[in-house]
Structures are given as C-alpha cells and as structure tokens.
C-alpha cells in the first residue's frame, strides 16, 4: 500500500513500487485528465507537478513519489497561476483536439511559477518537452505571454 498526496487529498493505493504514477492516477484513482501518449517521457502529455516541479508522470515510479505533493490538471486551477493559465488558454483558443493541453498547461504553470515574466527563450525551454500534434504552438506562446501579463 502506498499513500500519496494528490491535489491536497490523501490517497492510498495498492500498487507495486515500479508502477508509473501516470497509470496510478488514471486507472487506480480515476484522475484521467493526465494523458497517456508515448509512455517514455518524449511527449509531455502526462505532465504533472511534484512539489510544484513539472514531471512526466509516465517516468515517475509511484514508489519514488514519497511525501511530495502531486498536483494534476484537475486541481491546478485552484492555484492563482494555474487559474490564470487556464483562463488564458480559453481566451486565446489554444486547443484544437485538446488531448495534449493538460500537459501543456502543467508545463506552462510550472514555468510561470518559477519565471513570472518569461522570455521567448524561457518559453521554448520550458515547453520543448510537450508535443502538440495539432500544431497549436503559435497560440500556446501567445497564451503564456498573456497569462504572464494578467
């Protein structure tokens, strides 16, 4: 049994230590906002925060999470920066299919938490790990800049 702190709540799950956090969130706990796409840390669709730091949930073994606070897309709007990012996303109409956007929002929120007024280079560095197959990058950048100004 492993106890996790997820979105401010305590969850105890029966999972082997090496089960990726991604599948614990999706299949055992039912938080499906965090998306599976590549499974090897190459696409960023499963980005979550561990103690505020963006991590690929498919690459994090649940046994290694420990006491770190897990934040997912379902609760990121409860933080001021997360809410700002979500609003900017809707306003700029970033999403097309929307499948990658949870990961994009988690990556962008971590960026603004750390760097409230990012340069284009900061945005590139923070967002390079999160693929968008629809190609919404133009609007993603615009939304991040708008959120930083908000």
């Amino acid at each position: 049994m492993i106890t996790l702190q997820i979105n401010g709540q305590s969850h105890t799950v029966d999972a082997p230590d090496d089960m990726p956090l991604l599948w614990v969130l999706r299949d055992l706990i039912g938080l499906t906002g965090t998306k599976y796409s590549c499974g090897i840390g190459r696409c960023g669709a499963c980005t979550v925060h561990l103690d505020g730091k963006a991590e690929h949930a498919c690459m994090v073994n649940v046994g290694s999470v420990g006491k770190r606070a897990v934040t997912t897309i379902e609760a990121i709007g409860e933080t001021p920066v997360g809410a700002k990012i979500q609003a900017a996303w809707v306003e700029a109409k970033v999403a097309q299919c929307g499948y990658c956007q949870a990961g994009q929002i988690m990556a962008a929120t971590a960026l603004l938490n750390h760097t409230p007024h990012p340069s284009d280079a900061d945005i590139d560095a923070a967002m390079a790990g999160t693929l968008c197959r629809c190609g919404t990058y133009v609007r993603l950048r615009e939304a991040i800049k708008n959120a930083a100004k908000a």
Partner: protein, 758 residues
C-alpha cells in the same frame, strides 16, 4: 492471389470507399416533408431524412413518439428555461466542429449564444445519416440543413408569439433568444414561448427566409470552443478517459508485420503475471480494417496489461504477412521512373510530344516522399461492454456509423444490437476513419465479464497504422516562347493492394489538376504491389502530390525566366477545356487567383531579402478550399532552417467561426512543416521500424514558425471546411523558400534527408 492478399485487397477497397463517401461533400437538401417536432419539453425540431421510405412519418407526430419515428433526427431544441440545445452529429476531432455547427443554428435562430449548449448527437445512421468527420465536408454538408433548422425554430416561436399577442408576425423582431413587438411593447423569451410553439405546425422549408451575410451577428466572428473549459480543467472527454464500474483493461498484441498469424504463444505464462486476469488468442478475419490475429491480455489496469505483454513470447506464422521494405520500394520506383512512360495514360490532353519538341525550354525532375504515420496523440482505444445481448462501445472514432456496422459484422450481430457512443477524439487526421480498434475491443469484450477498455500502446499505434503512402513523381515540363506553362508530363509511381487500382490514398488526387493547367498534359501511373496498409492522412493525396507539383511549377517559372507568382496566375487562368471543373466542383480560377495575389501582397512578394533568407510561395485547391502560403525563412551554414513568418491566404467561402478557422490554418502550417522536415516511416520486412516519437519527430514548440498570419478572402460563397485545405501548399512553399535562400532545390521529403534541420 492468396486468401491473405485478397483480404488485404478487400480492406483496401473498403478504405477507398470510405474515403470517397467522406469526400463527397454534397449538402443534404431538406426532404420535401421538411421538419418534424420531436418529443420533449419545449420545442424540439428534427428533419425527415431525404429518401426515407417511411410514408407513415409524413404527419408530424405528437410528443412522445420520437422512438416510433426512426427516420427523424434532432438538431435543435428550445427548453422552457430559455436554453437552446444544438446536437452536433459529427465527431469532434480538433477541427472545432462542435462550436461551428452550434453557431450556424444560433445565428439563424437569433439565439443567445451564451445560453446555447452544444451536445454530441447520439450515433444512429438511420436517424442522422452520415455522421463521420473527414474530407473537410461537415460544414458544407450541414450549412443549409442547420440554417433551415434555426430559421424554422425561429418562425415557429414568432408564430406562437403573434398568436399570444394578437399581432402581425412580420412586426416581431428576434434577438438573443427574445422576441419583441415594439408597437405593443410586448416581449418574451424563446423559452417562455417554446411550449406554445411546439403545438404549431412546422413550416415548409421553402417558405423560410434565411438571413443574409450582412445580417449576421455571430457567424464570421471569433468564439471560444464550447468544450474549452472542460479541456483546460482536465475533465473526461476523450475515449481514453472512459471509466465504467467494474471495468478491466486490455492490451492486444498483433504481428508486427501485417498479416502474420499466431502459431503459438506463452499464454499460460502470461495469465500468471501479476494483476493479469486472462489472456487468449484471437484468430481474426484477416482484414486490417477489422480484426487481425493476435493475443489479448486482460488485466486489472493498463500498466499490468502492458507489462504482461512485454513478456509475451509469440511465434508468428508470417507466410502471408507483408514483407516489403521501403528502401527497396523506393529503389524500384526510381527504376520505373527511368524506364518508359506507362503505355496507358490516365489523362492525355493536347499533344505533349509535339509540345516538348517545339518548346522554348524543357526540364525534368524526380520528386519523392516517404510513408508517414498519423501518430495521433491519443493512441487508439475503445471501451466495450457486452451486456443484455447488446455490444455497447465508447470510441474515439471519425466514423462511428461504420464502426457500428463493422462491429456488428465481426460479432455476427444485427446492427441494432451494437450501440456506439461518440467521444471526443485526440487527433483524427484520417486514421480514425478506420475502426479496427473498435472491432478488436468488441471481440475482446465478448469474452470478458463487464466492461473492458482496450488500449493500444504508442508502439502498437505506429506498428498498425494505415500509412500515408510514399510516392514518386517523374516530371517533365515545358514552357513556350511567352514563358507560359505549355506541357506537363507526370509519371507517378505509386502502390496497389489489388494489382489493379491504386491503394487507398495512393492515386492521383482529383484536386490537383487545376493548379497546373497545361494545354498539353499527360499523366500516367505505374502501380507497385504493396501489402502494408495505406490510408487517408490529412488532405489525402494533396498532402504530398502538391509538394511535387508546386515545387516543379517553381522550377518551370524560373526556367521560363518568369516571376513565380505571375507564372502561377497564368497557369490557373489558362482555359483548357478538358480541365474544366465538373459542375459540382468548387474550383474557381478567379478565387484561386485571389488567394495567390492576396498571399503575395501580404508576404511582401518581390521585396529584397538579406543573404541566406528566402521567400517561397505555393498554392493549392484542396477539399473545396483555395489556399496559398508564403514562407519567409533563413538557412544557416549548417542547414538549420528558421521560419520567420508564414502568410496564409484562404478562400473557403464565408468564414463560420473565425478563431477556429485561423487556428486550423496555423496548425496545418506547423503540421505540414513537421511532416515535410523530418517525418518518415521506414518499413523493413513488412514491419514499421519507428515505434515512438524519438525516431519519428513531431515538431516541437521552439522550432515552430513564431508568426503565422491568416487572411481570408471574404465572399458570399457558402462555407467549406478548414481541416485540410491549409496543409498541402505549406511543404512546397517551404521548399521553394529554401531554394530562394540557398539555391538548393529540395526534391524529396523529408528535407532532413538533405541535411536540413531546425
């Protein structure tokens, strides 16, 4: 032909038929019987489906009889609380259709958009007709239907108000779901009038007066996506998000080479893996579009299923499996290109040989492009539940009706025992016009107690795609003494699954002919046998054939010593009777010229650029849209490409929802650049070598064009789709810009083969 190969050919024929159906963008005229009120509180309007044989449904029926009138479809309802609900019958795959369809009805109804809800319509072909999303045809199909639905609902509400108030209906004005009679000072919401309106007869569609474009308050403006709030807050919308009580999870392992059968597998060992509930072999029916043989693993969670699957030890019988290698295919194509022109030409206009003999200038070139994958961000999946004699499925599909039919066929069930729930779709791009994963899930679910979610891994998704076919074009062109395009000969080396017809998506696109109207034109094809399944990929045919065509047009313009834009305009305006578009085509030389000129003007065509910088342009007519793209880029000494600016000029008729239309164009530029720069599927011994995004790079944010400006040629033409037309001209525009910047002609995709990178 062996039985395996004929199954492949059957599957290929199926895909070709699917594509044809998806691309026939005929707007459905309203049936003469027009509208029908449906059951429910307030006013619910549907249509009779055209061609329906149910004469007994001619009389509008009272509330509560919707289920007895299966030829009726519901599109709009007005609830007493003044909520307007619109039913979107097509899948949302990222093209923004849910928002756009809702706006069309709301506009015509003069509905309050902030109180309009768009819901996914149930999947029922008998009720709704075609419910697919493909070919950029949903908007043109829905345009007249939905406007009439909105207008009919408004007319009924006005009639109800006129009765209640004892006033002339012509004096009642509608705005934001409120009707007002100024002279008497009376007003009421649609909701307040809905129940009374539902008691009135439905209007004859012919009597409805539709709004003109100048009267629009919603259409043409920018709107948020109707599901955007749910998306950004991580609510479950996609197929992969479906969770049902007691649900278990499945993986399905198939032969990496399409057509391989299971000889033996360590099924017992797999069953003993932690959290694995069952494992079994499925024989399949041999059709890649339905059910290929494999081993199903049922587990308590997805990860356990994937882990167990890694321990699978299968001996495959590959005697009937695909064995091609893409390298060999490319080499063979090159030999054909160097050989004679095919004896039977597909088109032969004028006298090509005489034109070449007397031409001012003649050039030849060989263009090629590779197989590419769809790489949908949401790997294929379906949740299926066999209960009470019914197979119930939740699927991210572009073609739910077809899935229903296929599942019924595979299970031997009548179609009404298969229920499909449409989910949001994490990328379509044509891959999900096929429903193989639905068939697999259904067959697995028959053997599982309770609901089961079949989940493909990323590697499965790459291994079992329906690839955009590679293609090879030997081109010869001539210009006359005036510097105009005079002759065009194209030998297209492509693929066949049945030995006779080009494979799905491998034949000449019907859209490409108008962009290079040569008075002397000859096209032929050499078909090379291929078992690896191919299929539609965003803007099928166009997505690669325009690369060859529009780059070669640039070559010809330069050979003629002409300005590229002038040369393109000449060619599109040329009167070649044999290339006159059929009556139902949207192609219009004036609209084509319009986007080329607008694009050139906005891009600053003719301006002087610093060394290492180039401006390239291309255009296409695709999926009923006319689109031109201009790309300004620079290339450094290490062949590193930086795209500074892209200009898109599009004519897709009236713009329905501007932000979505602009976004589709921007996304298409990124997608096309991503594809053209570095995407390539290598096939070895019938197997796809690439298994994930490492080997198959999707363009990342730092390398995407920072600026993509989108301009629409505004007109009163009815709207057409935006999902595809902005894709095909991007790759040739980039290649032409690379030439302008470097002097190197890029005649192959991906450009990375020539050392280009970002």
């Amino acid at each position: 032909m062996s039985s395996t190969v004929s199954k492949f050919a059957e599957a290929d024929a199926y895909i070709r038929e699917v594509m044809q159906a998806a691309q026939s963008a005929k707007a459905l005229p309203l049936d003469r019987r027009g509208f029908l009120k449906l059951a429910g509180a307030g006013l619910v309007l549907g249509f009779y489906l055209p061609g329906s044989a149910r004469a007994d449904a001619e009389t509008p029926q009272a509330a509560g009889t919707a289920s007895q009138a299966p030829v009726i479809n519901a599109f709009v309802r007005v609830d007493p609380d003044n909520t307007i609900t619109v039913y979107s019958k097509a899948p949302e795959i990222g093209q923004g259709i849910k928002t756009a369809l809702g706006l069309i009805i709301a506009e015509e109804m003069d509905a309050d958009w902030s109180r309009t809800v768009v819901e996914q319509a149930p999947i029922d072909g008998k009720v709704y007709g075609y419910q697919g999303a493909g070919g950029s045809t949903t908007i043109p199909r829905a345009w007249d239907q939905l406007r009439q639905a909105g207008a009919a609902a408004k007319a009924m509400l006005i009639a109800a108000a006129a009765q209640q108030w004892g006033v002339n209906p012509a004096e009642i004005t509608a705005r934001d779901s409120v009707l007002t009679h100024t002279a008497s000072g009376k007003s009421a919401t649609y909701g307040a009038l809905a129940t009374a309106a539902a008691k009135l007869p439905t209007p004859d569609p012919a009597t409805l007066k539709l709004k003109t474009r100048e009267q629009y308050r919603l259409l043409g403006q920018r709107f948020r996506g109707v599901d955007d709030h749910k998306l950004v807050t991580g609510q479950p919308l996609f197929g992969i998000d479906v969770r049902l009580p007691g649900m278990v999870y499945a993986a399905y392992a198939k032969c990496p080479s399409t057509g391989g059968k299971v000889k033996s597998a360590n099924v017992d060992e797999i069953k003993a893996q932690p959290n694995v509930l069952d494992a079994f072999i499925i024989e399949g029916n041999g059709k890649p579009t339905e059910l290929m043989p494999g081993i199903a693993i049922i587990a308590r969670n997805t990860w356990a299923a994937f882990e167990a699957r890694d321990k699978l030890d299968v001996i495959w019988d590959e005697s009937g499996a695909a064995k091609e290698s893409s390298r060999e295919l490319a080499a063979r194509a090159k030999q054909h290109a160097a050989g004679p022109f095919p004896a039977k030409a597909d088109s032969n206009i004028g006298d090509v040989d005489r034109a070449f003999a007397s031409a001012a200038k003649t050039i030849e070139a060989y263009y090629e492009y590779p197989f590419v994958a769809h790489a949908n961000m949401e790997p294929q999946n379906t949740t299926a539940w066999w209960h009470d004699g019914v197979m119930e499925l939740w699927a991210p599909t572009q073609q739910p009706n077809r899935g229903q039919t296929l599942v019924a066929g595979v299970l031997g069930l009548p179609e009404n025992k298969v229920v499909v729930h449409q989910t949001r779709v994490g990328n379509g791009f044509g891959r999900r016009l096929m429903n193989d994963y639905m068939c697999e899930a259904a067959v697995i679910a028959r053997r599982v107690k309770g609901p089961v979610k079949l989940q493909w891994s990323r590697a499965d998704d790459f291994a079992h795609d329906f690839l955009r076919p590679a293609g090879y074009h030997q081109l010869k062109g001539a210009v006359d003494k005036k510097g105009r395009l005079d002759a065009w000969q194209e030998h297209f080396i492509t693929f066949t699954a049945d030995g006779q017809n080009p494979s799905a998506s491998a034949g000449y696109s019907r859209f490409i002919a108008y962009a290079c109207k040569a008075p002397n034109l000859r096209r032929g094809q050499t078909l090379v046998n291929l078992q690896v399944p191919t299929g539609p990929w965003r803007a099928p045919g166009c997505n690669a054939q325009y690369f060859a065509q529009q780059c070669f047009m640039h070559e010809l313009a330069l050979a003629a010593g002409r300005d590229h834009v002038e040369f393109l305009l000449d060619a599109v305006r040329r009167e070649v009777p044999e290339l006159a578009p059929p009556k139902d085509s949207n192609f219009d030389p004036a609209r084509a010229a319009g986007v080329i000129k607008l694009c050139a003007e906005k891009a600053g065509w003719g301006k002087t650029l610093p060394k290492g910088r180039g401006l390239g342009l291309a255009w296409c007519y695709a999926h009923a849209g006319h689109v031109a793209q201009a790309v300004e880029l620079s290339v450094d000494a290490n062949k590193r490409i930086t795209i500074h600016r892209v200009v898109v000029a599009a004519d897709v008729g009236q713009v329905v929802e501007r932000a979505g239309a602009e976004s589709q164009a921007q996304g298409a530029c990124v997608d096309a650049f991503s594809m053209a720069l570095a995407q390539q599927i290598n096939i070895e011994n019938g197997r796809v070598r690439e298994q994930n995004f490492g080997a198959y790079p999707i363009l990342r944010m730092p390398f995407a064009p920072a600026i993509v400006e989108v301009y629409f040629v505004e007109s009163n033409f009815p709207p057409t789709g935006m999902g595809e037309p902005a894709l095909p001209a991007m790759a040739p525009a980039v290649a032409n810009a690379i030439f302008a910047a470097t002097g190197e002609r890029v005649r192959a995709m991906p450009f990375s083969r020539l050392g280009y990178r970002v």
